[in-house]
């Protein structure tokens, strides 16, 4: 096994400052009974605010400091979001609360071309999602986590670690005999463990505070010094956990991890540190969520054709935007494009303090097969244009026309909703519609290309009638009967128009259309 750990430094703070280029002075405090500061942004730190201070003293140092109470639920959710996104690299991963995600990548090394390639891709993707991450690799999960915390990436370690030791005996499945036992030299990565600081022992709660205090009291600074302590002596001082933790890190003791079970629907949010009503700022923040959604979809080989973006207001009911993508898509660029049009056309009732993105109706993604001659990309574009226009103008602003089998000119056409995708010309519905329309059209006389919304009265003296009358007398069954004689005519501007007079009042002429 070979593990890659994603460590999120200052995690309680990151969930509040996610995606900000220049975070404002902000500090996260522990829940009320203690009220001490847990993490601060660099701007606040520059003003003298430190971790461990009381919130009152921090406010005295920096009056404009924003204080946020630590939100463990949000931290867990964001951790799950990262895990769901990172599934694109490996199906086997494990959450390591409070602030790390572990990936088991031994089976994917060859696919991605080595551990450092995966690390680079992970960092780039997570930075795009607005997270600040550190990564580390090792054959055991605990060592990987420690390397990540200490900032030793696979690139910083010597590269062969990823290739040589991935084939080493799997320590967490079957404890391998200690390297010292059979006299072989210990692998290089184990030597990198020794200089790490002793505080890492308490990292995920494996050693409690009294034990750490004991080790510090003994004057120990590094893990290597702790490893050389006699086990009997530690046991006598109730500190057996030190030996066990080190053994787990070195692969001498099994370290089973529960696998992460991905959620079946996407529902993630982020909080905006400063409420805003600027569409650009909202879009910038929403792009983090779209990147995450794209990764989540990619891991499932799925796509969505609509999702819901909820704009959370502090005191008013939330604004909900339905984003319709026109065609099933898993591309972040398309999500962003449609969201931009929707945000530009939306009137906000109040400033937005948080965003939430939901997607639950998954569609199986069509694997894009490239045509040797044609360009399948053009087909995708066609739905994109329609989706963009609909997002900006609404369903009323964009429509399609269809012909109906009716002799009344005003009832012979229909503005139908443009729908979510193009009605493919070869589709059965289109052919049927065409077949329906064809017989009536063929039986009728000439029809104008332009129809007036309402027939317009016109003086008979201005018209020159051409040809013979076409009588249309129908519609008695639905309460809108017409009885008209239609003529071709030329008006005083030489335009060819379609005029009629009603059978009830023969002297009154109306223009109904133009032969454009």
């Amino acid at each position: 096994m070979f593990w890659l750990a994603i460590h999120l430094p200052a995690w309680p703070l990151q969930v509040f400052t996610r995606g900000l280029q220049a975070p404002p002075p902000l500090a996260v405090v522990a829940p009320p009974p203690r009220g001490t500061i847990l993490a601060v942004t660099p701007t606040a730190e520059a003003a003298g605010v430190r971790c461990g201070q009381r919130s009152a003293s921090a406010l005295a140092l920096l009056p404009e400091l924003q204080l946020k109470t630590r939100d463990p639920a949000r931290e867990t959710e964001a951790l799950a979001e990262i895990a769901a996104w990172a599934e694109r690299f490996s199906p086997r991963l494990s959450l390591s609360p409070p602030d790390a995600v572990m990936l088991e990548i031994s089976s994917c090394l060859r696919l991605f071309g080595g551990a450092s390639r995966i690390e680079q891709a992970l960092r780039a993707g997570l930075t795009e999602m607005g997270f600040d991450v550190r990564t580390g690799c090792a054959p055991t999960p605990l060592a990987a986590r420690w390397f990540a915390r200490a900032g030793l990436s696979a690139a910083a370690l010597s590269e062969p670690i990823a290739d040589k030791d991935s084939d080493a005996p799997c320590p967490s499945d079957a404890p391998a005999p200690g390297p010292a036992a059979d006299g072989t030299p210990e692998p290089e990565w184990m030597r990198w463990l020794d200089p790490l600081p002793i505080e890492l022992l308490g990292d995920d709660g494996s050693c409690d505070a009294p034990t750490l205090a004991l080790l510090a009291g003994l004057g120990l600074r590094t893990l290597g010094e702790a490893r050389r302590l006699p086990a009997a002596g530690l046991a006598r001082r109730q500190a057996q956990s030190v030996g066990r933790t080190l053994a787990r890190a070195r692969g001498e003791l099994a370290d089973p991890r529960p696998w992460f079970a991905p959620p079946s629907r996407f529902d993630h949010g982020l909080v905006l540190p400063v409420p805003t009503h600027h569409a650009d700022a909202l879009l910038f923040a929403a792009r983090r969520l779209f990147a995450s959604l794209a990764g989540w979809l990619q891991a499932r080989h799925a796509a969505v054709d609509l999702c819901t973006l909820v704009l959370e207001h502090a005191s008013l009911p939330h604004t909900t935007l339905e984003l319709v993508f026109g065609a099933p898509s898993h591309e972040e660029a398309r999500f962003t494009l449609i969201a931009r049009e929707r945000l530009a056309a939306t009137q906000l009732t109040a400033e937005v303090s948080g965003l939430r993105l939901r997607a639950d109706r998954l569609v199986h993604a069509q694997a894009g097969s490239e045509d040797l001659f044609g360009a399948p990309a053009a087909r995708a574009d066609a739905t994109l244009l329609l989706a963009r226009l609909q997002a900006r103008l609404g369903d009323k602003g964009v429509y399609r026309l269809s012909a109906r089998a009716d002799h009344r000119p005003e009832a012979a056409w229909l503005a139908c909703e443009a729908g979510c995708g193009p009605l493919h010309p070869d589709s059965r519905a289109a052919r049927r519609a065409h077949a329906d329309a064809a017989p009536t059209v063929a039986a009728e006389g000439l029809r104008p290309l332009w129809l007036l919304p309402e027939p317009k009265p016109v003086a008979a003296a201005r018209l020159t009638l051409l040809g013979e009358a076409e009588r249309i007398e129908t519609g008695w069954w639905d309460g809108r009967p017409v009885g008209r004689d239609y003529y071709l005519a030329r008006d005083e501007h030489q335009a060819l128009c379609w005029v009629f007079h009603t059978l009830d009042a023969p002297g009154h002429w109306f223009v109904h259309g133009f032969f454009g």
Partner: protein, 244 residues
């Protein structure tokens, strides 16, 4: 359908057999880079045949230029402007839209279907504000998924025209802009401007501006002949463009 006397193949070789010395140097240059007086310009991009040989013969390249803003100036709707475009609209390739933006009257579906225009791929867009209309026109032009874009803009300033021309240059489809004929005297960045008027049963087309020598006489087109039924030239499958 008129074919120009000299045809320059895409790889720069000319297939006219004998040319005077000097001419072959000119002809050997990439198409469109050197214009010789007295010859109508050739467009580097594809052109869509209009369906009227008299008009094809006068238009540079022999058809509606793809990727250009084409202004059609007319006094009022109904002179025959749609009939002139029907042959081209009837040849819309599959998976491409025909977008009509802010048409002044209601396009009548039965007549369009009868003329061979695929209704399933015809989008009518009616934005509420002029800025949105300009935005939608540009999006339709640059999307690359439209066979033709038809926009009616009674009022548009020079900046807007310039933007539309740039958007059209990015695309591979013609962008037809319908404007009132009162603006015929104003300058415009559109490379092709046509004034349309009804003359009896015929449509009179005056070429106000084209790349090449100015057109001396108006062209009379019998556009109504195409109204009687689906256009004769080409089926839907024959959607290939003539490319120079």
């Amino acid at each position: 359908m008129a074919t120009p006397a000299l045809r320059i193949a895409e790889d720069g070789r000319h297939d006219a057999p004998a040319l005077p010395p000097g001419r072959d140097i000119l002809a050997g240059l990439p198409a469109g880079s050197v214009w010789q007086a007295g010859r109508v310009a050739q467009y580097p991009q594809a052109v869509h045949p209009t369906g009227f040989s008299a008009l094809d013969g006068e238009l540079p390249g022999g058809g509606w230029p793809a990727g250009a803003l084409i202004e059609l100036l007319l006094e009022r709707p109904g002179v025959g402007e749609l009939s002139m475009l029907l042959p081209m609209l009837g040849r819309t390739p599959p998976d491409r839209w025909i977008v009509w933006l802010a048409p002044p009257l209601q396009p009548y579906a039965p007549a369009l279907a009868r003329a061979g225009v695929p209704l399933a791929r015809l989008l009518v867009v009616r934005p509420e504000r002029p800025q949105t209309l300009l935005w939608a026109t540009r999006q339709a032009a640059v999307s690359g998924s439209c066979a033709a874009v038809l926009a009616w803009m009674p009022r548009i300033d020079n900046t807007g025209l310039r933007r539309l021309q740039l958007a059209a240059e990015e695309s591979d489809s013609p962008l037809f802009l319908f404007r009132p004929d009162t603006v015929a005297g104003q300058a415009s960045p559109a490379p092709l401007r046509l004034a349309l008027a009804a003359r009896g049963d015929l449509l009179e087309v005056r070429l106000l501006k084209r790349r090449g020598p100015p057109a001396s006489h108006p062209i009379l087109l019998d556009v109504r002949a195409a109204d009687a039924g689906p256009c004769d030239s080409g089926t839907l499958a024959d959607a290939s463009l003539r490319s120079r």
